[in-house]
């Protein structure tokens, strides 16, 4: 079973593209969907509990990267929090480590190159990203990679950012966005590539 996580809406947005995207994947075979609050540390704690409970073979965390033009599998999670806006519980950490004393960074253990290439071959704009930012997305990503490493769990895990959906920026038309159908197709492809590795 693959555990998929998404966030709730944050900042000035009323929706999160990854929540809308995963709503149609809840009933898919071999997949379990978890909704996480856009809150530093708490999001990771909830997902770790879910991992312990469900024993997935892989964890694919999703997040919305407003302004990006493509589906971007993240290569690396770094041990720092630097928030430009408050998270959904009012936290705004600056230059704090995600895990005190943890290593500087972890690489994704998802096949990010293969995912990216297969997405492109299927007509979906995609690129490996080398920064997941320093907000809750990166923090969650780091927490999970650290937990798996500390507990010697050989579960593939990683984070993938998705753009805004078109409808989210209809009134802010200079911001890039993506169609829902293409995002859903991208998600299917991501699952196929990850499943083939299990």
């Amino acid at each position: 079973m693959i555990l998929l996580s998404h966030f709730d809406a944050f900042g000035e947005d009323r929706e999160n593209s990854t929540e809308i995207l995963l709503s149609t994947f809840k009933t898919r075979n071999n997949v379990q969907v978890v909704k996480l609050p856009t809150v530093f540390r708490k999001s990771g704690e909830i997902l770790i509990k879910e991992i312990e409970k469900t024993k997935p073979s892989a964890v694919v965390m999703l997040g919305q990267a407003g302004g990006r033009t493509a589906v971007t599998p993240e290569k690396v999670a770094i041990n720092i929090m630097d928030a430009r806006i408050k998270d959904n519980e009012g936290n705004k950490p600056c230059d704090e480590p995600v895990v005190e004393g943890g290593p500087t960074a972890y690489f994704s253990t998802l096949p990010v190159r293969e995912i990216t290439e297969k997405l492109r071959k299927n007509g979906i704009p995609a690129a490996i990203s080398y920064t997941a930012g320093t907000f809750v997305c990166n923090s969650l990503f780091y927490q999970i990679m650290h937990y798996l490493s500390e507990n010697d769990l050989s579960i593939r895990a990683g984070f993938i950012h998705f753009p805004y959906l078109h409808r989210q920026v209809a009134e802010r038309p200079q911001i890039p966005s993506m169609g829902l159908i293409e995002m859903q197709r991208a998600m299917e492809i991501i699952l196929e590539v990850v499943e083939a590795k299990l």
Copy 2:
């Protein structure tokens, strides 16, 4: 009947998003689709012949504006050609008028404000554009507006730019693009607004 025009592929692209978009509108009631070569002046001459032959109640010209993030109804056509790349017959005019002695510019007679607002309300990123560029799109737009004006024809006409489709930039993932479903939905809305004005 509404006459819809699109261009063929140009520059380094192998497809034109407006050709793909209109391929599903060829059999729609009350609509006729014309494919135009991306060639200065010739594109306008072909469309003028088509107008004379089919006597449409409105002319909606479409073009691909690679790099834009939204559907952009054009407000104004200007009497100048300034090409950065060659058109499909090798022409590369610089600082030449579209029509020698013609007025500086024409405004679209499509309801660009209403189209834009209805697109946005339906979740499609859209914005009025105040420049159709200085390549073949603007030139065609100017030729048609000039022809209608010179011949005192009260046919509504205008130009609408569409972004790249996602699949066109799959390997150039930093360029913004749009989903085909959303483009088709946009086209339906545009037709509804134009038809309501006839």
Copy 3:
């Protein structure tokens, strides 16, 4: 004598790059500098009075185009006002003509091609722009071109947009900007090209 105009600060900015730029040109030979309020119509009325009073041989209007990366001589002024934000007296016109019954557009009578090429040869990023927007800049540009046309005055006139200065976006570092020295050098070059035409 060349009449140079700039605007005061508007929107959320506390400075206007063109005001800072022209502050060092006030004492230059053969040049006169006018500061205009960022107010629809009033800015044009003030500049027209100044033209009548000073009888310049050319009018070069400057404006700040926040977000642009280059010096951009404007090719065309269009007869429409469409404000996204209020001007400095609270006006926010939408789809109104600058001059009721005026022609759709006027082309600049400055040598925009020559200015652009000479700027580039001198290491200044520059490009001809085919839209001066629909805010006060375009409106002023249109008013002046219309006044000169209606009164058969053969005074060369046009509008040139400048980017933000670096210091204006120090805290908004993702917005493009330009160095003051390069802007001043650009202004010298613009004056040289315009003076050579008189």
Copy 4:
């Protein structure tokens, strides 16, 4: 003494903004400037020899990040090479580690927050960057941090990216760039902040 490094021109550029920038710093007190080839691994080997020879108190590596709008001190170097273009000796590594068996990443030991804030206060657009890319810049940065770590050397070190200079993009005016005076001023501020920490 602070050791400053810059690269030679690479890709399609004939100049490197950091080479031009540092040309005026060669004779500055307490500073030594090294020019490095834009070549994977070799650049790091040369700089390591220079560190061993000159025993600097800090190492500030500079690189050109074409397309950025601000001075961007890099926070993190990652252990991966993924080149989109060839380096200056034709290498184009993909998904290879910079140092086989090295840790995933190193953080800069320069005061990146303080540098960024002081730059902004002095009117220079600046931002901490969380990705130095995956080309030679990141690779050099990683090599140096790894060398200092392996050898227990308490020399502050880090990497700072600079935009294009205006003159480099005069003919590509849609690309953001920066004035030379402001870059030089930025370099002075960076040196002041680093020196105050020694």
